[in-house]
């Protein structure tokens, strides 16, 4: 094991004067300032409401959606697995008998309180028939009243998967 000699800085006159180092730092900041002043369009800032983020991946957990069968009817069988798995108790389901014979049950009401939801994805994991998914990529929901945040079955069915999924 040889001895490693760590070089010590700050003892030369140039370093003790501080001013050369300060001038160097100011050169760096000024070059940034000048290039950005010449062309502000090259700045990476995302002007949010006009420009939407492009880096939302398929795994991103956005607002939920209910999937459909091939014949455009709801896939959910109202088994209550998702609302049981939900740590925030924000899924409210009311079941009725299904008339068309595809399955035995279907939800009459299926609503999610987005203010309670913690977006953990537990409901998606719990669902036995892939009826609920969080692949819409919707990250922003703004409503005027507290009640409006409880979204119902029709809204959930109307959500589309984000681009690039399936």
């Amino acid at each position: 094991m040889g001895i490693k000699i760590v070089p010590r800085y700050g003892n030369s006159l140039k370093e003790k004067l501080y001013l050369p180092a300060i001038v160097g730092g100011m050169k760096v900041t000024f070059s940034h300032f000048f290039t950005n002043l010449k062309d502000t369009t090259k700045i990476e800032t995302l002007c949010y409401p006009e420009q939407l983020p492009k880096d939302i991946t398929p795994r991103y957990r956005g607002v939920h959606r209910l999937t459909k069968r091939e014949d455009d009817t709801i896939k959910c069988v109202a088994c209550f697995m998702c609302s049981t798995a939900c740590p925030a108790d924000c899924i409210f389901i009311e079941a009725i008998e299904r008339e068309d014979g595809a399955t035995e049950k279907m939800p009459k009401k299926f609503s999610i309180d987005l203010l309670e939801c913690v977006f953990c994805g537990g409901c998606v994991e719990a669902c036995p028939c892939d009826a609920i998914r969080m692949d819409t990529g919707i990250f922003s929901f703004v409503k005027k009243k507290r009640e409006d945040f409880v979204i119902d079955k029709d809204t959930l069915l109307s959500h589309k998967p984000m681009k690039g999924v399936e």
Binding site: M26, T29, I43
Partner: protein
């Protein structure tokens, strides 16, 4: 009292108001946009009045309105109510008053009578400035004490420690300048800087006395509580330092006072070291002699510069949503620019054809010098902002070390050497 005197006094007072109070929103805007550009961000650019954004300048007015209309709240723990209210006033007033003796232009001669172009026509300008800029720190100390809060108290202590470290160096660097200029009248100092050394170098303070200039600029940073010496505020370790307990317009006065102090320090640096209102190589006499050539130069260069500026606006002032009202601003700005150009070129053309007489010459020289002063002031302010977003904060023992062990000996040596030079050369 004749009309000339009254109008000149009014012009001077309005100028002092413009350069101090009206510049505050501009400086706040400059600070935020420059910080943004230095850090590769955009900075505030969304706020608009009917589509006019002026590059985000409107944001400053919105912020001011917010501060004015906030609830004027004072915590019940504050016992020294008078001092608590008084300290922002001291900061604001002392910063504001130090603007009053800055000469905006050379003495204006109208009908063989000379008028001083300062808001307060007094001849002991430098002493006035030293008195009032030194008072500002009492506001911080009293505010820190009266808040009855440990963070504020620490901020006040730091302000006091800072004051005792920079004041001596600042005074000594000014003494070497006084030896050179031989006057405490700021107007005389600027007139001195209009001369040329060896016929081709402008005799600016920074060229004659570079060491004093550096010392004074460093201490001016400490005096205005700007980074790298904003230790009294110290928002990362002291919450807000002396203004932790302040809100609404009481805080607003501290805030405005800081920017006015920055402007005052910048204008003093410009006046003492950067030639004040003097255009390099063109002092007042030269300007008065060759006013026609200057007019022709302005007539030629204004449209060229405006054209480049308009191209820059067209390239950079875009809003992504094409239907937004903010997209119409570019058109309005360019129309305004064209109008200003037509006005300048037409009026200067008329002056060139018909001549403007002696009084007219003097007045146009004064206007040119005021513009030069404002340009220099903005550049110095930019320098303050640029330094703030480059350097890190000093610890206050480091500031004292720097001031007492490094800067003070240099300052004393500088005074000594300057004195020897003046005595030996007999200037």
């Amino acid at each position: 009292m004749n009309t000339t005197l009254v109008s000149i006094v009014i012009f001077n007072i309005v100028m002092a108001l413009v350069v101090s109070l009206v510049f505050v929103p501009v400086l706040v805007w400059m600070e935020r946009r420059v910080a943004g550009f230095i850090q590769d961000r955009l900075g505030p650019n969304r706020c608009h009045i009917g589509g006019v954004r002026l590059g985000g300048l409107v944001q400053s007015f919105a912020d001011m309105l917010k501060l004015v209309f906030k609830e004027d709240y004072r915590p019940s723990s504050v016992k020294e109510k008078l001092l608590f209210t008084l300290s922002p006033v001291i900061v604001f007033v002392s910063a504001y008053l130090s603007f009053m003796v800055i000469p905006f232009a050379d003495d204006l001669v109208i009908d063989d009578k000379s008028y001083m172009m300062q808001a307060l026509p007094i001849e002991f300008g430098l002493l006035w400035i030293l008195a009032f800029s030194g008072l500002g720190v009492y506001g911080l100390m009293l505010g820190g004490w009266a808040s009855n809060n440990k963070y504020s108290l620490l901020g006040g202590i730091r302000a006091a420690a800072q004051a005792i470290s920079y004041e001596a160096v600042m005074g000594l660097s000014l003494i070497s300048m006084l030896i050179v200029y031989g006057s405490i009248h700021l107007g005389d100092m600027v007139r001195f800087q209009g001369e040329l050394i060896w016929g081709f170098i402008p005799a600016w303070g920074i060229i004659i006395q570079p060491v004093a200039a550096i010392l004074f600029i460093i201490t001016a940073f400490a005096e205005t509580n700007r980074a790298p010496f904003d230790i009294a505020e110290g928002e990362s370790e002291l919450v807000g330092g002396f203004h932790t307990e302040y809100s609404a317009m009481r805080f607003g006065l501290f805030f405005v006072g800081e920017y006015i102090a920055m402007g005052a320090a910048s204008s003093l640096i410009v006046t003492l070291f950067l030639g004040g209102y003097q255009i390099p190589w063109l002092n007042t006499e030269v300007l008065q002699e060759h006013i026609n050539i200057i007019f022709i130069a302005i007539v030629i260069f204004t449209p060229i510069v405006s054209y480049i500026f308009a191209q820059w606006i067209r390239k950079n002032n875009v809003w992504l949503d094409p239907n937004d009202v903010r997209n119409k601003e570019t058109k309005w700005l360019i129309i305004g620019l064209v109008c200003i150009n037509i006005l300048i070129v037409a009026s200067l053309g008329l002056f060139l054809i018909y001549g403007i007489g002696e009084n007219g010459t003097n007045i146009s020289v004064v206007i040119l010098q005021v513009m030069t002063f404002i340009v220099k002031l903005l550049m110095m302010n930019f320098f303050f902002i640029w330094v703030r977003w480059t350097l890190v904060r000093f610890r206050y023992d480091q500031l004292q070390n720097l001031a007492w062990k490094v800067l003070l000996p240099i300052a004393i040596a500088n005074v000594f050497i300057t004195g020897v030079f003046v005595v030996v050369l007999g200037v």
